[in-house]
Symmetry: C2
Subunit: 213 residues, 2 copies
Amino acid sequence: MTGRRGRPPKEAGGLSRERILREALALVDEEGLEAVSMRKLARRLGVDPMSLYNHVDGKDALLDGVAEVLLAAIPAPVPGGGLRETMSGLAHGFRDAMLGHPRAAPLVLTRQLASMTALAPVEAVLGPLLAAGYPPERAVHGLRAVLAFLIGTLMREVDAAPTFSATASPGRLAELTGSGLPAVSAAAPYLAVCDHEAEFEFGLGILLDALAP
Amino acid sequence: MTGRRGRPPKEAGGLSRERILREALALVDEEGLEAVSMRKLARRLGVDPMSLYNHVDGKDALLDGVAEVLLAAIPAPVPGGGLRETMSGLAHGFRDAMLGHPRAAPLVLTRQLASMTALAPVEAVLGPLLAAGYPPERAVHGLRAVLAFLIGTLMREVDAAPTFSATASPGRLAELTGSGLPAVSAAAPYLAVCDHEAEFEFGLGILLDALAP
DNA sequence: TCCTTGAATCTACGATGTAGGTAATCGACG
DNA sequence: CGTCGATTACCTACATCGTAGATTCAAGGA
């Protein structure tokens, strides 16, 4: 008597994997990764916690699902472009997708995903590299070098940006200059601030110059 | 009556921050990050869970401490070396320190640490870059590009290597070749295997060629 | 001697992930 | 139209977690 039971009567607001993943992503966006719990997610969906297990294998599988939702937001590259243009476009697409959901991005950056949606961008990079005459082994190395840079860069971007607006707090700057380390002190103004955009282009440029000149 | 109480009698096997961090690192090495709990750690130390809070601010601070222990294992570069030699040495030192404790490495790679021990390697890289005539802003960009590559590369290395000996399982290879993606299929043998050593040198070489030729 | 201080313990609370069992509805088939 | 398996939602229960709060004892300064 306390709540409805059994199957949802016809076409009601029944649960579904997609609805669950959408709400989970919203929850992460609003409250952060460590605030995610099956119970809280169920509360938001107006549903018993255990009901989620009919559509998702458990908490870990749920988070994998959210990661794939993020990855699916990367736009496919335009077919006719050159090698450099393709790789640059995919790198920017990846970055934009992560920056669109900074609190959820660690799900993608931390786990290694083997699903089809994760393989699509890989195909999009590998194809042009092979077509450009790269031997497969070298193509894979290049792909992984760029991916490593992307992951490392975005890890810094996403957990500095959104919650603390003051990336360059005066306190942090003073802490750096007063550290007694000469080179750190000399570069302190640039260490305290992060021009993410410029740093991303700088590093990506180095890699693409070497791979797709 | 059930257990000893009060201060440890004289110089007995008293607790200490250092002893706690050492045991925590051992626990992570043996059972993995997600197996760490204050209660289990206390059990290993033969101590009440709440006793840990006299030496450590909480679970998060404990893990920060473990991360700093890892960072402190990076050897300082030899003073007389050239720019490229210094940067390459530090990159390898960082990598070796992480690979020595693969299950704990995510603590360093995931959190951004602002402590002195984290700043020492920064100083060691920044110094030679400034001495070589780099303007500070560019030096910081270069440092961060290399660091991003290190973080991204090591994230892949550490959670593939130790627990699963078969990085290149036949199943994974078949999964890749049968994916219907032509470039992925063509490069499948190299995607299924990871020659971490070679890939690390490849990516690091590209970056150092651009920064310290 | 007493008194402050700090370390170790005990108790307790709310929260979490999820195994196991029960009830209600739908789609298909006779 | 009646029946039945499958699917879905709910409920109960358990072990475990991080840690606030109060308590107890030994060591060292007065």
